[in-house]
């Protein structure tokens, strides 16, 4: 082992960080102090250690002075540990002989007393020099990465990511819970601000997914469990039975015609329960895969066993299989993209808007279906009472920006409310009022769209709607829904009677986001949206290597943002699998087998489930590929049989002893 038997020769470098450090810490005297510490051969201060000349200093000194340990007192290891380890390695020394002391975040930025800060830095430097002498040469291990990617969720984000990766030649498993891919976007009529038809731009992508040789599409399926680690995930997928052979059915829909139920009788989920479907159905004409399915909850055969099953007779391809059972598929993948989307806010939680109480109060998603040509009314805006509205009030921020419900801005509601205002005006010729708190239209072409709406004669009332009521105070209000609102621009309280109310509901995490989070071992922000590794610099990564995020499961997003993020997640996944291997940081824990008593104390404590019990040897075993080096097991091992590279007792105790030496 390199330098294993030679004497310790430390090179010490203290960084000015411009004035970030030098302003508060007397770096020259720190260098002078370090020069007098045992083992220190060279001690220097330099303006920017992370610059090329700064890094070169380390290399030159290693060669010239035969240094075998490097201590750099600079910023946080999160920023530049890799930089200085790499500089050390370039000069032929094992990078783990280099140790960083954080004197910026831990000293100069948090202190004002220059003398005291300098003294503290000296203590920290002495501690680092004390520990670094015990460092060992460590190797990064390589783990191969499987080339397949799992994508969970077949909305626009999942579709975009799947196509991007599949086009690059990698294999993709796309798992969607619903019988069709398309997600929320498939329900929309038009998209803002360009008003192009959602189906026209989405369905070609859906067909591409179905047809792509590199994509295995499993709809009506759910991920049940994930094991393993970056590059080598083992995934179990449950495929629910459709009772129709997906490989055989071509979606001719003869069976739907033939069904014992002559009229559609059951609530159509895709149409937000505004229309009806039969027990054998297809969610919408462009559903992908274009395969019918049977809902066993409503099918006569499943309910009574007494159906003549004309559907079977009508099928020329013999696609029906009423004995079909759920199938479990096991796949191995190198990376996972979670694109599970969002849930619209349930406006019944804000009773003041009368949703569920007044039939003519709608959610925005319901109105998307009403204005859609393939929706339950063929694109005509007909209310639940059969009338066509002459006036419509659109309430922004329903469920959003509210301490009682959700604090966050759902980001897309202002824009889709504008879009719906335009569409309602266009389809029904109604007067449209938009009730908004603040109009938020940042985005390419968004503000322009807002201006267009202003010119179209849509009314805008700045104020939070206090209540939707049918209590008429004037003859004009009879039979209407009255919006009570303080118009904060006009400065008085208004009552605006309308025929129809549209609630622009916000975006929420899905109900099962906690289970999904646990399954993929990722975190949630306090709202319940999945948490990215870094809000700015790692927006699609998660805390778990190899698991990425795309779309609204990470936070409210419109279509362009979801697509962009899906592309980013696909790129991250491809960067991982294309390399073919990952290097594991060696600061992992390890068990000396002959020292382990098999007491199992460590096993339940590992947050990464990296420790298992080997029943044959009756000892605990750490999977180094899963270990993140958190040290929990090391601290908890009652017999001291788990050690951690870079954090062995001798290293930590030396550090403590030195830092306290002058105390």
């Amino acid at each position: 082992m390199e330098n294993g038997d030679s004497k310790v020769r430390i090179g010490f470098y203290v960084c000015h960080c411009g004035t970030n450090i030098a302003h508060t810490v007397d770096v020259a005297s720190v260098a002078k102090y370090a020069a007098g510490l045992p083992g220190v051969v060279v001690a220097r201060d330099y303006k920017y250690m992370c610059s090329d000349p700064g890094q070169d200093l380390i290399g030159e000194d290693i060669r010239e002075h035969g240094l075998n340990r490097i201590v750099v007192a600079a910023c946080s290891p999160c920023l530049h540990e890799a930089t200085f380890r790499t500089a050390t390695a370039r000069a032929g020394l094992n990078p783990f002989f280099c140790h960083l002391v954080n004197i910026r975040e831990h000293a100069s930025w948090v202190h004002t007393d220059r003398a005291a800060a300098t003294e503290k830095v000296q203590d920290l430097v002495r501690a680092a020099c004390g520990r670094v002498r015990h460092h060992k040469a460590l190797e990064r291990k390589r783990v191969t990465v499987r080339p397949e990617v799992l994508i969970v969720g077949g909305g626009i984000a999942g579709i975009q990511a799947a196509l991007t990766i599949a086009e690059s030649g990698k294999k993709v498993y796309l798992v969607e819970r619903e019988p069709t891919i398309g997600g929320h976007m498939a329900m929309f009529d038009k998209t803002f601000p360009t008003l192009d038809c959602a189906a026209c731009i989405l369905t070609p992508k859906m067909s591409q997914v179905k047809a792509h040789p590199n994509i295995t599409l499993w709809t009506y399926s759910e991920v049940m469990g994930v094991e393993g680690f970056v590059g080598n995930f083992k995934v179990k997928v449950r495929r629910k039975p459709r009772y129709v052979n997906e490989e055989v059915c071509v979606g001719c829909m003869e069976c739907i015609e033939a069904c014992m139920y002559k009229q559609p009788k059951f609530d159509d989920e895709f149409n937000q329960r505004l229309g009806k479907r039969k027990p054998v159905y297809i969610p919408f004409p462009q559903a992908t895969p274009k395969v019918v399915l049977i809902d066993p909850e409503t099918c006569l055969h499943f309910k009574t066993g007494k159906c003549k099953q004309p559907c079977i007779a009508s099928c020329s391809r013999n696609a029906f299989d009423f004995n079909a059972e759920e199938k479990i598929e096991d796949v191995e993948v190198g990376a996972i993209i979670v694109a599970t989307g969002f849930k619209p806010f349930d406006p019944a939680r804000s009773p003041k808007y009368g949703y569920g109480h007044f039939p003519n109060v709608y959610t925005s998603l319901e109105v998307e279906r009403l204005v859609n040509a393939s929706g339950p009314t063929g694109g005509e805006i007909v209310m639940r009472d059969g009338r066509k509205p002459k006036s419509v009030g659109i309430v922004h921020c329903v469920g959003s920006r509210n301490l009682q419900t959700n604090r966050w801005c759902s980001k897309v509601c202002c824009m889709y409310s504008l879009k719906l205002a335009h569409l309602i005006k266009e389809h029904a010729g109604a007067e449209v009022y938009n009730f908004y708190i603040d109009m938020r239209t940042p985005g390419k072409g968004y503000e322009e769209f807002y201006n267009q709406l202003l010119e179209e004669g849509v009314h805008f009332v700045r104020g939070k709607v206090a209540e939707v009521t049918d209590w008429a105070m004037t003859p004009e209000e009879e039979g209407k829904l009255v919006m009570r609102v303080e118009d904060t621009l006009a400065g008085f309280v208004r009552r605006i009677p309308v025929d129809m109310v549209v609630l622009s509901v916000g975006l929420e995490p899905r109900e099962d986001s906690q289970e999904v989070r646990r399954m993929f071992n990722i975190s949630c922000s306090s709202e319940g949206f999945f948490l990215e590794r870094h809000p700015k610099l790692a927006p699609v990564d998660t805390a778990t290597d190899g698991v990425y995020l795309a779309g609204a499961c990470q936070g409210p997003k419109d279509i362009p943002d979801s697509v962009a993020q899906a592309g980013a997640a696909a790129a991250q996944a491809m960067a991982l699998i294309d390399k073919g291997y990952i290097e594991m940081e060696p600061n992992t824990a390890f068990i000396e087998e002959k020292e382990c008593s098999g007491c199992k104390s460590c096993i339940p404590l590992c947050p990464y489930t990296a420790i298992s019990f080997n029943e044959a040897t009756v000892k605990a075993v750490i999977n180094e590929a899963l270990c993140k080096g958190c040290g929990t097991c090391v601290a908890a091992c009652p017999s001291g049989s788990i050690k951690q590279n870079l954090f062995e007792d001798v290293e930590i105790f030396s550090e403590i002893e030195e830092v306290l030496a002058n105390a």
Partner: protein
């Protein structure tokens, strides 16, 4: 005929159990007596301190010293035996780790004296007489050794070559040590002459411990029935086994009592109590403060539970000040 190796036994702050363990060698003691000369063993044979003083330095092959060091006299004897013996062995938990006597380190010297000679309900001492280091009566002076501020393990007073753990050590360990001495096949200096793996390794109940033991409560052995087949920790009894060196053959477990930790930590652990604390407390089932407190109420005496033998060597500072006793600072 070559001279037989000379062996000494001595006791300091101890209960006498370690001496018993020598006698517990039973017929094997004949093997010992046959092969060695016992030159000093105050508990069993008539030797005086001056006899040892008269021996040349290094003339005793090995000295087995049990008990912790609390008094000036114990300190003096430890220093003298260190000089006279080639090999000094800390014998038993008190010499090894401080043992039960070191639990007194929770209290100041004054606190100890006050309790022992005044406050203790069984003490009758109306004049509140306290022991003095010297007392004159009729022109003659009687002396007592000074009582130090803290109890120390032997290696906190003198350099120690080997350790034999246990309260008391098992005869098998002693026999093993004597055989090693006689054969000259001794491990590196500083070794504890017992297996370097925790007790669970040899525990007959090892297989019955679940992998995910979360403690909903802790029970005390005298207050609950103990299942004779199930892991003590799985039953909620604090068992020091995972943090304690094996080698006793799981004696207490076989007697259906949890391990109390007398063999001390493995060579890899600096503080046995801290280790078992961090292990057990990490697995307390409730995650809220009130729930955790309720579980920990099942351990009313954490120091006596986790540091029953190891308080002298505990990483944490003692409650008593070290400043007024120069000799304490020596180690």
């Amino acid at each position: 005929m070559p001279e037989k190796p000379k062996i000494a036994f001595y006791w300091c702050a101890s209960c006498g159990g370690c001496e018993e363990s020598v006698v517990d060698l039973a017929e094997d003691i004949l093997m010992v007596v046959e092969n060695v000369d016992i030159v000093f063993w105050p508990v069993a044979m008539d030797f005086k301190k001056k006899d040892v003083e008269a021996m040349p330095d290094g003339s005793i092959t090995a000295c087995f010293l049990n008990g912790a060091i609390r008094t000036e006299e114990q300190e003096e004897m430890a220093h003298m035996l260190r000089r006279k013996a080639k090999i000094l062995i800390a014998y038993g938990a008190c010499a090894h780790l401080g043992g039960i006597p070191a639990l007194a380190n929770q209290f100041s010297k004054e606190h100890v004296m006050e309790w022992a000679y005044d406050k203790c309900p069984t003490v009758t001492n109306p004049s509140r007489t306290r022991p003095q280091t010297s007392y004159k009566d009729n022109g003659r002076t009687a002396t007592l050794p000074a009582f130090r501020n803290v109890v120390r393990a032997l290696d906190q007073v003198v350099d120690v070559d080997y350790y034999i753990p246990g309260c008391a050590p098992t005869p098998a360990l002693l026999k093993g040590a004597v055989v090693a001495l006689l054969s000259g096949k001794l491990p590196p200096k500083g070794t504890t002459l017992a297996p370097d793996i925790a007790l669970c390794d040899e525990c007959p109940r090892k297989a019955s411990k679940p992998t995910d033991v979360g403690y909903p409560e802790f029970k005390r052995p005298h207050l609950a029935r103990i299942d004779p087949n199930l892991c003590m920790l799985a039953q909620g009894f604090v068992c020091m086994g995972p943090a304690t060196r094996g080698g006793c053959g799981a004696l207490c477990i076989n007697g259906n009592m949890p391990c109390t930790g007398c063999f001390g930590p493995t060579s890899r652990v600096r503080d046995q109590g801290a280790k078992i604390l961090s292990s057990i407390c990490s697995s307390v089932a409730p995650k809220d403060e009130a729930g955790i407190d309720a579980v920990l109420e099942g351990i009313p005496d954490p120091v006596g539970t986790f540091y029953r033998y190891g308080l002298a060597h505990c990483l944490l500072r003692r409650k008593v000040s070290l400043n007024d006793s120069a000799e304490v600072a020596a180690k």
